[in-house]
């Protein structure tokens, strides 16, 4: 016991960040184990991108116009990628609400662990889960004709999406810590996530929407991120007309910077709100 307590105090000066990282790793490990042992969650993660790809590629795709000669599948996959990560990020909220409801959060709060690890471990696990979703989507996309312009663009687009999903995860986390039942997280977030996902440039060109909706659909963050991802993926293969009408007009660098600004803004705001919420939980 003596050795234990001296071990802890000696780690105090230099080791604060070190412990935060180790605690985050411990929590991430726990969360991943938990995810893997809930096959229904994994199944949703596997099946959802496949279903959406097939649905839009073969059912709705034929009726979607205004593509300026761009192959619809190349337009579609970046859109579904954003939709996949946005929906999967919900896990963060459900899982935290579940931990809160079952009293597990209180156990964590009574331990000398880093508080940031509760969120860090959560979003780390959920980001891996999201990366898996993107890989499955990519495989499905290739099978139905998706062809990115180059690999670095594709990888950068993937990272951009994962980072954006991480920021959104913190929004789900805030809801998860506020409503106290996993079902309620869905009810509370669906009315926000659904219009952001579908009133966007994800599935159809914004040009084809009624004019009152175009302003929102062009400038809202989900569209900005989709346009950036698309721009990275299409690279030089996009014509000036396609850029103008389908990618928000701006160049790739500008789109990426705008996406990062949204990502950082959303992440910081919700991160701070989560920390405050966690500190003020009424147990």
């Amino acid at each position: 016991m003596t050795t234990t307590s001296t071990g802890i105090s000696s780690a105090g000066t230099n080791g604060r960040l070190g412990w935060a990282i180790r605690d985050t790793a411990a929590m991430a490990g726990r969360n991943l184990r938990r995810l893997m042992r809930q096959p229904e969650q994994i199944m949703f993660n596997l099946v959802s991108p496949i279903m959406f790809t097939l649905l839009f590629r073969y059912v709705f795709g034929g009726a979607i116009g205004g593509l300026q000669g761009l192959n619809y599948v190349n337009f579609l996959i970046p859109g579904i990628a954003v939709q996949t990560v946005l929906f999967s990020a919900g896990v963060t909220g459900f899982a935290l609400a579940d931990d809160l409801q079952k009293g597990f959060i209180n156990r964590l709060r009574s331990l000398p662990m880093a508080r940031s690890a509760v969120f860090g471990g959560r979003v780390a696990a959920d980001t891996l889960n999201n990366a898996l979703g993107l890989i499955i989507l990519l495989a499905t996309g290739f099978a139905v004709g998706f062809r990115p312009a180059n690999v670095p663009g594709l990888v950068l687009a993937g990272l951009l999406l994962l980072l954006f999903a991480l920021a959104v995860s913190l929004g789900y986390a805030l809801v998860g810590l506020s409503v106290r039942s996993p079902e309620a997280v869905n009810a509370a977030t669906f009315p926000i996530i659904f219009p952001l996902t579908f009133a966007s440039s994800a599935f159809v060109p914004v040009e084809t929407m009624p004019s009152w909706l175009q302003g929102f659909a062009t400038h809202q963050p989900v569209s900005v991120v989709i346009n950036a991802a698309r721009s990275l993926i299409l690279g030089d293969t996009a014509t000036p007309e396609q850029r103008d009408l389908l990618l928000g007009g701006s160049g790739t660098a500008s789109l990426v910077l705008q996406s990062l600004a949204w990502t950082i803004g959303i992440g910081v705001v919700f991160g701070l709100l989560c920390t405050r919420r966690y500190r003020n939980l009424t147990a």
């Binding site: 780690a11 184990r33 009293g103 597990f104 156990r107 009574s110 000398p112 009424t282 147990a283």
Partner: protein, 324 residues
């Protein structure tokens, strides 16, 4: 009680915590001597859990002062967390992890060396009779096993002060007795325990001192036997067939005992610190009136008597008057 010579392991002074209009803690003061067990006894909503949550750093008190293991709870919550274990009202085990995984995780989050996490997990599973179930997912555990695993998790870092919030609520009698034994063993090994309970039997069996809590206030404090003797010691209880009869008998026996005679329903209670002498007098008077009660007994007061008397507002006022 032999270890009670040390400094107090828990001190709380005038803790106040409100949720909106509800004063969950209304100037609560507590003290637990190191190596002893304090029972916080009270009905639902009395403020027991809030008190535990404040002392375990889960909640910040609005005002007041609290120290656990000599450390200020409000100023140094992190340091307090290194010295306490908490088993909450509902077992906080992760059902999708095995018993071993649950304990190892808590060990890692307590910053124990990896090897020690594993050996400590094995040791605790053995100690709590879960060695064979250690590799099974916690969702396959019975209620009693989950409670034991939860308690084991609270003990991973060998805390000097252990907080148990209603540790046996919802358990069957067998599991409850098992858990009591576990807690008694811990105390024997020197752990200080603060436990909350609604069960008088539990407080009577486990606690060295009891604080009775109601409406956010400590309304009585003492050892189990002190609290019992505060009820005036031994009682003669006369049970009758009808309530009207009970009132008549209460009147008849007003000066038979050595304290205030009370009647409640068909039951009449006569304080009888002289024991059998009072019993004999009661029998003589009933006999003289040709009254044959349904039941008649001489008994020690139980904690139930104390509890009912103290937590009932009217009875509480009377109690204050009669004890001066």
């Amino acid at each position: 009680m032999t270890m009670a010579t040390n400094a107090p392991a828990v001190i709380a002074t005038d803790l106040v915590k409100s949720f909106g209009d509800v004063r969950a803690l209304d100037r609560v003061s507590l003290e637990v001597q190191a190596g002893t067990v304090l029972g916080l006894l009270g009905p639902n909503g009395a403020g027991k859990t809030t008190a535990v949550n404040v002392l375990t750093t889960l909640l910040r008190a609005d005002s007041g002062h609290a120290e656990v293991a000599g450390i200020d709870v409000l100023r140094h919550p992190g340091a307090v967390r290194r010295r306490i274990g908490l088993a909450g009202q509902y077992p906080a085990v992760d059902e999708s992890l095995t018993g071993i995984e649950n304990l190892t995780l808590v060990g890692r989050l307590n910053h124990l060396p990896t090897a020690q996490c594993r050996s400590r997990a094995a040791e605790l599973l053995e100690q709590f009779g879960l060695a064979e179930a250690g590799r099974r997912f916690a969702k396959t555990y019975s209620g009693g096993m989950r409670r034991r695993l939860d308690l084991a998790a609270a003990l991973v870092a060998r805390p000097s002060v252990l907080f148990l919030d209603e540790p046996t609520t919802g358990l069957d009698p067998r599991s409850r007795i098992d858990l009591w034994k576990v807690i008694e063993d811990l105390v024997t090994q020197g752990t200080t325990v603060l436990l909350t309970t609604q069960y008088l039997e539990e407080a009577d069996r486990l606690a060295d001192r009891i604080s009775v809590v109601d409406g956010g206030q400590v309304i009585a404090e003492g050892s189990p036997s002190e609290l019992k003797s505060r009820m005036g010691g031994t009682l003669v209880e006369v049970r009758l067939d009808e309530q009207s009869q009970a009132r008549r008998v209460a009147e008849l026996l007003t000066d038979a005992g050595d304290g205030r005679v009370s009647s409640q329903g068909t039951l009449v209670r006569v304080p009888a610190s002289n024991g059998t002498a009072v019993l004999a007098e009661v029998v003589r008077r009933l006999d003289a009136q040709n009254l044959s009660p349904r039941g008649l007994q001489l008994r020690e007061p139980s904690l139930d008597d104390v509890f009912l008397a103290l937590t009932d507002r009217f009875a509480e006022d009377e109690q204050i008057r009669s004890t001066g």
